[in-house]
Symmetry: C2
Subunit: 139 residues, 2 copies
DNA sequence: AGAAATAGTTGCGTTTTGCAACTATTAATT
DNA sequence: AATTAATAGTTGCAAAACGCAACTATTTCT
C-alpha cells in the first residue's frame, strides 16, 4: 500500500488508516485501553515481535496518539499513555469489538464486556444516530 | 502478523482484524458502501494493484462480507455486493471517518458527509450509549 | 557492586505488497 | 458472424514489511 495512493484518495478513512492501519497497531491501542503502559506489557500481552512494537510505538507517539511520560518524576524509563486523540479512538475499538462479537464465532463467546465504570452496567451496541437522536441504518 | 498469534489472543478485535485488517480491505469496503460493485470500479477508484484487489475480494467473499451475484440474470460477469454482515460494518467505517475528520487535517476539510437518505439531515457523531441511552465517555 | 529486569537494536530469512505486462473471456459493434 | 473493445483477472519479478532470535545497553533492585 503506497503512501502516495492513499494520500491521493484524500479521504479521512485513508488518512486514518495510514496512522492506525498497520499490523498490530489497533491491538496495541486496545492494550492501551485495557491498561498496558510499558513496552514489556504490550510485548507480553500481544506476543508481537519487539522490533515491530518499537516502530509502532514510535509512530503512535510521533502522530500524537500515544505520549511518552516518565514512570514517576525524575525516572529515566517512560510509559506510553493514550492522548486525548488516542482515547477518542474508543468508538472504533468498540465498533470493531461489537461487530466481531455479532458475526464471528469464537469458541468461548464474547470474552470482553464493556461496562460503565460508574454503574457497572453493560453498554449497548454502537448505533449511528441522527442529530435528533433517532437510530439510523445503512443505505 | 502470524495468524496463530492473533488467534491465541482470543479476542473479537483480533479476529475481526484478521478479516478486515489487511491493507486496502477497509478502503474496498468503503467503496462498496459508496456504490462500487465491479472489479474495475474498485480498481479505478482506489488505484489498488489488480492482484491485491483479486485476493482481497476473494477473501471478503469467502468470509461472507461480500457476495458475488450475476450483473443481471443469466449474465456471466458478476458484481460484488455487501452482505448483511458487510453492511453491518457501517459503524466501523463511520467511526473511522469521524475520528479522521476530528483529528487529521486534510487540505480540503471533510470531503464526505454522511446524510440520512430519508431526511437529508447530517448524522451526528458516533457515541457510545449505555443501555438506557446515556452517552458514555472512555475510562 | 552484582544480578535481574527493562527496553530496545541488529541481522537475516520469509511473507506480503506493488507494478506492469500479458491472457482469457464476455459484451458491444458493424 | 466476425471483429473489436471492455472486463476481469493472472503471472513474474522486484521492493518493502514482517517475524524471529540473539545480542546490547541501561536502569533498578538487593
Amino acid at each position: 500500500m503506497s503512501k502516495n495512493n492513499l494520500d491521493s484518495l484524500n479521504c479521512s478513512v485513508a488518512t486514518a488508516l495510514e496512522l492506525i492501519g498497520e499490523g498490530w497497531t489497533i491491538l496495541i491501542l486496545r492494550e492501551a485501553f485495557f491498561g498496558s503502559r510499558r513496552f514489556e506489557d504490550f510485548q507480553k500481552h500481544l506476543g508481537v515481535a519487539r522490533n515491530i512494537l518499537t516502530t509502532r510505538l514510535n509512530k503512535l507517539c510521533d502522530k500524537g496518539i500515544l505520549e511518552r511520560t516518565p514512570i514517576k518524576q525524575g525516572a529515566k524509563r517512560h510509559e506510553y499513555k493514550l492522548t486525548p486523540m488516542g482515547r477518542d479512538l474508543h468508538t472504533i475499538l468498540i465498533a470493531l469489538t461489537q461487530w466481531g462479537d455479532r458475526w464471528l464465532q469464537t469458541d468461548q463467546g464474547a470474552p470482553v464486556k464493556f461496562v460503565e465504570r460508574v454503574t457497572g452496567e453493560e453498554i449497548s451496541d454502537v448505533t449511528i444516530l441522527s442529530k435528533d437522536g433517532r437510530e439510523i441504518k445503512p443505505r
